[in-house]
């Protein structure tokens, strides 16, 4: 899932289908994945960041928050991106020490459909100093409670609706919601990787999408006087139904091989989890029946407060591409791959690993089966997409590289250009030298597979089933 050009076409489609006025916002940690770009990846990461600015310009974002990770390449580079962007980059608490003034816009006021919407943003610092984050001694990142109370009061006086784009944790955002009821919506970033369906805390809704651009959130609001969120039973019904669907999917998976209390004999924690799921299923089913009655009643009376409905759109690879944004992402891909190619000329010695050719000497039958498996073709899938030098993609498509920072990642010999034997069984250099004295791992643990077969990359992964496909045993 994911892809900027597909997200762009999805947003365009949704805007065309809806008659409601809309705003498009991003809560930050947009440009980089690490807290500090490494010299090895710097060129590629900066090229991607520029592409994202150009893409967001075309999409027409109304506001983007400055997250802590957005400063990974230093404040100067982010200021260059700000000059390139047609959307405002916001942070109310990242300031110049010498002047005490915010470096980015602290807030914007946007009018839509007769509504005045104020948007502000807070940047996180975690346990680091501002200088460690920005690479600039004349900066500070103030705590939210030194900035937001006064700013929010001003914004509430000028607008009908206040949105906070927050780079802080859910716990901090819940505190903000408790102390500042004028903020009615908090979109958060920086901590979770999954979608967060809007949670109501005091008078604020808190929500976020999953990471890496694989999902788009759509929040449909109907705003009424008093600005108090009405607990929407219809919304709760949808959320509970989704929970029940997830619960029943998990029970079905556990029951696939028979009665779980027999199948998982000897695994008491698994049996406890199964029983807890059955209890949860029953509770959710009862709750759904009551909610259905409440929803029917509410439909007769009509809403009295502001209401909302939320949808998460998966950015599937089957979505069409936005043609203008596609040109940008293709250009980024070529730039990133060429930057990697330029650095790939070195001869390298890979310690601990031997490559699959050495394994074939003694394990011919297994390697013959492996050659027919998907793992043997993983590097080719990158070459087909011109991503074979993209350090973000390489670690899950080759052997002996676990992050994009290894200096040899761009210069691997041919026998490492696939997910070979050692990717699952561990480095085989010592085993190849003394096969009877030094053994490698037999069946790899599921955790080894899950490093790359994450839900976002492979939501259909099944450990036992997919291990058989490799045919190594």
């Amino acid at each position: 899932m994911g892809g900027l050009s597909k997200k762009a076409s999805k947003i365009e489609e949704l805007r065309q289908q809806s008659s409601a006025a809309s705003l498009t916002v991003d809560a930050g940690d947009l440009f980089f994945s690490q807290y500090r770009v490494t010299p090895f990846k710097e060129g590629q990461d900066k090229a991607s960041a520029v592409g994202l600015v150009d893409g967001y310009n075309i999409i027409g974002y109304d506001a983007v928050a400055v997250g802590m990770r957005d400063l990974s390449a230093g404040l100067d580079f982010l200021l260059q991106l700000k000059e390139r962007a047609t959307f405002p980059l916001l942070s109310a608490n990242l300031i110049r020490k010498s002047t005490g003034k915010p470096i980015f816009l602290p807030s914007v006021l946007i009018e839509r459909n007769g509504l005045k919407v104020a948007i502000t943003a807070i940047t996180d610092r975690r346990d680091k100093t501002a200088q460690e984050i920005t690479d600039d001694a004349d900066t500070d990142i103030l705590p939210w409670n030194e900035v937001l109370p006064q700013l929010t009061a001003e914004l509430a006086g000028q607008s009908d609706f206040v949105i906070l784009l927050s780079n802080l944790s859910l716990e901090e955002n819940v505190r903000i919601a408790a102390e500042l009821p004028a903020i009615q919506l908090i979109v958060q970033s920086g901590y979770r990787s999954n979608n967060l369906h809007p949670q109501k805390h005091n008078n604020s809704l808190i929500c976020q999408t999953g990471h890496e651009g694989k999902h788009l959130g759509e929040l449909n609001l109907s705003l009424r006087p008093g600005k108090i969120w009405q607990e929407s039973s219809e919304e709760l019904l949808v959320a509970r139904q989704q929970e029940l669907d997830r619960c029943e999917w998990q029970l079905k998976a556990m029951r696939r091989k028979g009665d779980p209390e027999i199948v998982f004999q000897g695994k008491p924690s698994t049996i406890r989890a199964y029983k807890a799921l059955m209890v949860k299923q029953e509770q959710l089913s009862e709750e759904l029946k009551s909610l259905q009655a409440v929803v029917a009643e509410e439909k007769k009376i009509g809403p009295t407060g502001s209401t909302y409905g939320n949808t998460f759109h998966d950015i599937e690879i089957t979505l069409p591409d936005h043609p203008e944004v596609l040109k940008i992402t293709e250009n980024v891909r070529r730039t990133v791959n060429n930057l990697g190619r330029q650095r790939s000329r070195q001869q390298v010695k890979i310690m601990t690993y031997t490559g699959w050719l050495a394994c074939a000497d003694c394990h011919a039958e297994q390697t013959d089966k492996w050659k027919m498996s998907p793992h043997a073709a993983t590097y080719r899938t990158l070459e087909n997409k011109l991503q074979q030098y993209d350090l973000n993609c390489i670690p899950c498509h080759v052997t002996a590289v676990t992050t994009g920072s290894e200096p040899f990642a761009l210069s691997l010999p041919d026998e490492f250009l696939a997910v070979g034997c050692e990717a699952c069984h561990g480095g085989g250099e010592k085993h190849a030298a003394s096969p009877n004295m030094v053994k490698v791992v037999g069946k790899p643990a599921q955790e080894v597979c899950l490093r790359c077969h994450t839900p976002e990359q492979d939501d259909d992964f099944d450990y036992e089933r997919d291990l058989k496909k490799l045919g190594c045993k």
Binding site: D160, E218, L219, L221, R224, P225, V332
Partner: protein
């Protein structure tokens, strides 16, 4: 009531029936609709791998 009083009252009522809907204030009963498209934590990804 005098004619002038009635006429003035009528004028005021007519004016209010125009002004109140036009203030842009949230009307009781009918909500003002707004859609927020939101994203976060893109982490530099312009497209998926492979």
């Amino acid at each position: 009531m005098t004619f002038q009083y009635r006429f003035t009252t009528l004028l005021i009522l007519m004016a209010m029936s125009i002004i109140i809907p036009a203030t842009g204030a949230l009307a009781a009963g009918n909500g003002r609709d707004l859609t927020i498209y939101y994203s976060n934590d893109v982490h530099g990804k312009t497209e998926p791998c492979g």
